[in-house]
Each structure stands twice: as structure tokens, then as C-alpha cells.
Symmetry: C2
Subunit: 186 residues, 2 copies
DNA sequence: CCCGGTGGAGAACGAGCGTTCTCTACCGCG
DNA sequence: CGCGGTAGAGAACGCTCGTTCTCCACCGGG
């Protein structure tokens, strides 16, 4: 711990921040607790992230990259444009079933900080826009009408919100079935 | 203000709490601000609601009754079981367009307090269950397969989440169109 | 007119927490 | 061996806020 590379300290801090912020909410986790969980001293934490808000931003940004990466990796293993669209919902089901699943980190962050931190709010909007555009790409690959993208997006968002509140994987299956019907609609 | 009936004070407190909690979030509004906005003294506030958490509960409970009442009133003016289902989404569009719309109060509260207040979490689950069951009733009236209820619910939830984040009424129209396709799906 | 009690205004208290500061140990270098 | 500088541990600071307390004005009953 004596000589700790900055990059390593940064990753450890973000690991602890992600686990604590996602699991218990941002406002109820103090910087001191992140220090304890990460082993990164407060002084170092504030060198790496000059304020808690910037730590939150970095947490959401790293999670965004990883979350969309995991989704894309799963989806791209499927063959066929429609199968790929349905795979999004299969992946949601896997995600909802993971230990420690607590809903969508961006929805939760927005509920907590959307009115007080414009930077967090912007990050949430950017993440949702990126997810929607990813779906739009899948819809275009399937040569479906562009309006389907928004509809599938709403199903996925509804499933995330509901799974977070009810702690169940069922919404993913419900959303998948609805998506299947939408794909078959004229 | 000198002689204030308890019931009146209670309503004034809840009016202020609703406006402030919904508009700015629960954690960022202090009891003192509610006193200022309501004209109800702190002493009286704590007689009526022995803790902030109980004031939050009362706010959510009263809002639940009113929200579902307004929805049902709008829906029941339509004739025909399928028209009534679509009316839910028309009403969402009106709601999203209201001044001061800030997303779903229950999703927001859950994001803020879901991990720290089991009572608030339970209230959110109860509200969502009631809304889902209301949809299930409409679906049954239309003699549609029961699975449609969950699918329409997810569309509505996705629309609420998205409208809250993007401050747009468009998600209601997208959800309505998806619902229309689902109603026509075999 | 006096008096007890009710209610309001606002101070006070105590805890939590973001952020900074102090002190000390250690390490590489001359 | 001495020294400057870096890093960590943890205290300290300042602020916010939920909750309670103090003080005083008012009001109805004897």
C-alpha cells in the first residue's frame, strides 16, 4: 500500500465506489467509507477526484462503457438481426438475476441527484441516448421501421425500472415477449 | 394562522411537501423549508408527522390516491375497452406535458430512499402493483390475454422513466403506438 | 383582571459528512 | 548519516439538517 501507482489507486477507488454507490445509493455512502473499502487514503482520493461529484461522474462513465460493452458482446454472439434484438432482453434477464442487482444505476442516480447535479443528469441522458441508439442500429440492421427502436427502448427501460423495484427477473421475459410481438407486427 | 385546524394544517403541510419533494427531491428539501412554504410551524409539523419519513409516506400515499384517481377519471370517459387502454397513454402524454413534470414520483423516491427506507420502498411497490392491477382490469375488460397487462405496464413505466429523464412528451406517443400494435397482435 | 395552557418563532443541539489540515513515518538522495 | 518531500492516518472544520427546546404572546375561564 505504501507505493501505489496512481492508475491502480484510481481503479481501486472506482471499484469501491461502484460497489457502494450502486448497492446502497450515492448519498448514503460517504467518502470515508470509500476510503475504507478501497484502501485509498482520503488525500489520494481527493487528488484523483477533486470532489465527490467527480467521483460519481467517473463511476457512471466507467460503468457505462462496461455495461454497453457487456450487452454488445452478448448480443453479437447471436446470428440474425431479429435474434439480436431479442437477445437484448435475454441479456437483461441475466443481468436482473445477478447477485446484487439493484436496478438501473443511471435511473437510480437520476432519482437521487438529477435535480441537484446537472453533470450527473447529463451523464444519465448520454447513457440512455447511447443505449437507444444502439437499439436503433439493431432495428436498422433488421430492416424494421425506425419507430420500433423507441418502442423497444421503452420496453427495456420499463423492464429495468420494474426489475429494480420488484427484484425479479420476470420483467425481462415480459418485455421480450412484447418485443417479439412488435417484431412480428406489420 | 393563529388558530389553525389540524386538518387544515395537515393539508397545507402535505401541499408544500408534495410541491417541494416532487419538484426538487426529498433529500434536498429540509423540514424547515416545508415549514416556510406551508406556514405550519415546526412544532405542529412534528405533531402531525412525528418524523420526516412519515411525512414522506403521507405525501406518497395522498399522491397515489390522487394520481390513480385522475387516471381512472380520464380513462373512464372513453367508450370501448381498447380505447380505454389507449387512453392510459393519452393521459400519460397530458401528464408529461404538465408544468413542473419531473418524472414518476415513486421511481424518484425509490431511487432516493429505496435502499434506506423500507417503508418508502414498500409504498412504491404498492403503488406500482396497484397501477399494474388497474391495467390488468382494463385488459380483462377487453378480453385480451392476461399477459398483455404486464407488457402494457412495462411500456407505461418505460415512458414515465424516459419522459422524466428527457423532459419530453414523446415517450407517451411512442408507448401508445407500441400498445396499439400489441392490441392488434394476435 | 389574573393564570394556566396552547401555539408560534426561532435558537439550540447533535449527528453526519464533504473537505482540509496536522502530524508522523518512511524513502530516496547527497 | 542527515534531509526534504511524499503519503497515510486520522483529527479537525464548517456546514447542513432532523429534531427538540426555550421563550414569549395570546386567550379563555375563574
Amino acid at each position: 500500500m505504501a507505493v501505489m501507482d496512481s492508475a491502480v489507486a484510481r481503479e481501486q477507488a472506482l471499484d469501491a465506489a461502484e460497489e457502494l454507490f450502486y448497492g446502497r445509493g450515492i448519498q448514503s455512502v460517504g467518502m470515508d467509507e470509500i476510503r475504507g473499502a478501497s484502501g485509498v487514503s482520503l488525500k489520494r482520493l481527493y487528488q484523483l477526484f477533486p470532489s465527490k461529484e467527480q467521483l460519481v461522474e467517473a463511476y457512471l462513465e466507467r460503468r457505462d462503457v462496461r455495461w454497453r460493452g457487456r450487452l454488445a458482446e452478448f448480443v453479437e454472439r447471436r446470428e440474425g438481426p431479429e435474434a439480436r434484438i431479442l437477445a437484448v432482453f435475454d441479456w437483461l434477464e441475466l443481468w436482473f438475476g445477478e447477485d446484487g442487482f439493484r436496478g438501473c444505476a443511471w435511473m437510480n442516480s437520476y432519482g437521487e441527484l438529477g435535480t441537484s447535479s446537472t453533470r450527473v443528469a447529463a451523464q444519465v441522458r448520454a447513457h440512455k441516448r447511447a443505449f437507444r441508439e444502439y437499439l436503433a442500429g439493431l432495428v436498422a440492421d433488421a430492416a424494421l421501421p425506425g419507430a420500433r427502436a423507441g418502442q423497444l427502448f421503452l420496453l427495456a427501460e420499463g423492464a429495468m425500472a420494474t426489475a429494480g423495484i420488484t427484484r425479479s427477473t420476470e420483467p425481462a421475459r415480459e418485455a421480450r415477449e412484447a418485443a417479439r410481438l412488435l417484431l412480428r407486427a406489420c
